[in-house]
């Protein structure tokens, strides 16, 4: 087994042991980090692996959250069915929206994803009778077999680990390799016989699926949901997490989510000017650490071990 896998297992064991410390703070924070980490990793399938700047990823997060809440509360489905459909709802939305988006490139692609996510937001915001409009949906309880915050933490851990495992398999598969060739050079990829638009669409769907899963988890975690889940600042925030951690490394976005959410929790207990801090972090990042946290450390390691 490779060294990276040993490190991952060690991290996983540590994460599994966290609730034993009895700290509600860490259980809360880490649940949040795991959920947004999955969201960021799924965005990064587009950003870092396929070279598509999606500025509307909040749409699938929000769709996942609303799909789960509505399926449980309005359709009265059982947890398992509802949760499975949550991911599929994101994939279905990504299929429809992505079909149009992948025809465009670069900045136009980014704007179309943004425009579609705003439509999703506006529909949820205005469709009072179904979504509760501005007030959102309250009282989303833990499913029966979960019952406590600690149990939900373990549930989240399992879902996220399985999802991330699948995503990692995908990026290390032939399909994932082709995505990276599209990122580097779509025109050339076409000339090795790849239907680039189709591959981009598939990546979009996979990303939408896992974004929706993270949205569903967040709905349960938060017990209530609002239209703001699909509003564009959420799309921006998950982009920042991804860049903060490093978009050219698989686990970078996870690290970014962890650092950002930890800082937010700490900073907001001292000052109300969190946006200012976040903006400043982002500026520092863009100017001094364009490879993100993981990229920075990878460069340092390369410097110290020039032999490899």
């Amino acid at each position: 087994m490779s060294r990276q896998n040993w490190v991952l297992i060690a991290v996983l064991v540590l994460l599994a042991l966290v609730p034993l410390t009895g700290s509600r703070y860490y259980v809360f924070l880490l649940t949040d980090v795991l959920i947004f980490g999955l969201f960021a990793v799924s965005l990064n399938l587009l950003l870092g692996y396929t070279g598509l700047v999606s500025f509307g990823q909040a749409a699938y997060f929000g769709i996942g959250a609303y799909a789960y809440a509505l399926l449980i509360k309005k359709a009265g489905l059982t947890f398992g069915v509802a949760f499975a459909l949550t991911g599929l709802s994101g994939a279905a939305a990504a299929l429809i929206i992505g079909f149009f988006c992948v025809r465009l490139t670069k900045i136009y692609f980014a704007m179309l994803t943004l425009a579609f996510s705003q439509i999703v937001w506006a529909i949820i915001f205005k469709w009072n009778s179904l979504t509760g409009g501005d007030t959102g949906i309250y009282g989303i309880d833990f499913p029966e077999f979960i019952g406590s915050k600690t149990k939900f933490y373990y549930f989240t851990l399992i879902v996220v680990v399985v999802s991330v495992f699948l995503l990692r398999r995908i990026v290390n598969s032939p399909f994932g390799r082709i995505l990276t060739t599209i990122r580097d050079n779509p025109e050339r990829t076409e000339s090795i016989g790849i239907n680039v638009k189709l591959f981009q669409l598939l990546a979009f769907i996979v990303s939408g699926f896992f974004s929706a899963i993270s949205g569903g988890l967040f709905a349960i975690f938060n017990h209530s949901i609002f239209p703001d889940f699909c509003y564009w600042p959420i799309s921006a925030e998950v982009l920042i997490m991804t860049l903060l951690g490093g978009m050219y490394s698989f686990f970078g976005p996870m690290v970014g989510a962890g650092v950002l959410l930890y800082l937010r929790l700490e900073v907001t207990s001292y000052t109300q000017y969190w946006p200012f801090i976040l903006g400043s972090i982002l500026v520092l990042l863009l100017f001094f650490f364009p490879g993100g946290i993981v990229g920075f450390f990878q460069d340092q390691i390369k410097k110290w071990r020039p032999s490899k």
């Binding site: 290390n172 032939p174 990276t180 060739t181 000339s191 090795i192």
Partner: protein
């Protein structure tokens, strides 16, 4: 007849880039297309490989009408292509570049869950060796020297096991020495694999050294076609070329 181009027309904003081009290429032939800058050579290539759509005309490759096919489909039929500007996957290693092409050629690109690294090691290494890049296989291709990047491009095209190669200025930007080495390499590979070659080139000594037939493109039209000596002696070609170089 491996490639037939009939009455090809393409205009941009009213400008006739290709104004009715006709030619054929026989299987195994080594053909060059020359012409002054702006004659339409790259446009012609883009039309053949489906990177641009034509206004009028027909292109038949290997008895299949490819006039309306997308680039990725044309490529799968065995028409390999290299580009004038460097066109590689610059964040990937040299090995990964070639392997990606092998993967799609072998129809494995739709595999979502198999680890990619061990696949087609042998085939990939064979190509790396063929284009002389085996020592650089783990380097990130974007940081390679220019000449190596060009070789890598050729390698990517070869990985598709094409029946015919379209090379757009394969030696653009190379030193005289690199140019000679590259041309020798291309010549060897083409003969060894029995490929058909159609290429554009600005360096006349290269053109006359390896082509069996030369076509001259001028203002979107073919003004001459024939063996090197005949084309060299053609008065119209001389007028176009000498006029430009002075």
């Amino acid at each position: 007849m491996i490639l037939q181009v009939k009455n090809l027309v393409k205009s941009f904003d009213g400008f006739m880039a290709i104004a009715g081009v006709n030619f054929t290429v026989k299987k195994g032939e080594l053909c060059a297309i020359i012409g002054p800058n702006g004659a339409g050579k790259t446009t012609l290539f883009n039309l053949i490989t489906g990177h641009l759509s034509m206004d009028k005309g027909q292109i038949v490759f290997n008895d299949i009408d490819i006039s309306r096919l997308n680039a990725h489909k044309v490529c799968r039929l065995g028409l390999g292509r290299s580009f004038q500007r460097i066109n590689i996957f610059s964040r990937l290693t040299v090995f990964e570049n070639i392997q990606a092409a092998v993967l799609t050629h072998r129809g494995k690109s739709f595999n979502f869950f198999t680890p990619v690294q061990p696949l087609f090691q042998e085939e990939t290494h064979e190509i790396l060796e063929r284009v002389g890049l085996q020592e650089h296989q783990d380097e990130v291709s974007g940081s390679l020297a220019y000449g190596f990047q060009k070789q890598l491009e050729l390698g990517i095209a070869l990985a598709m096991e094409p029946k015919m190669l379209l090379l757009d200025e394969p030696t653009a930007g190379m030193s005289a020495q690199e140019t000679r080495a590259t041309i020798e390499l291309i010549g060897e590979i083409v003969k060894e694999k029995g490929l058909t070659l159609l290429f554009t080139e600005h360096d006349m000594s290269v053109v006359f050294s390896i082509s069996e037939r030369i076509m001259v493109l001028h203002q979107g039209k073919l003004i001459a076609s024939g063996p090197p000596d005949e084309v060299r002696a053609n008065p119209e070609v001389q007028k176009v070329y000498m006029g430009e170089s002075r």
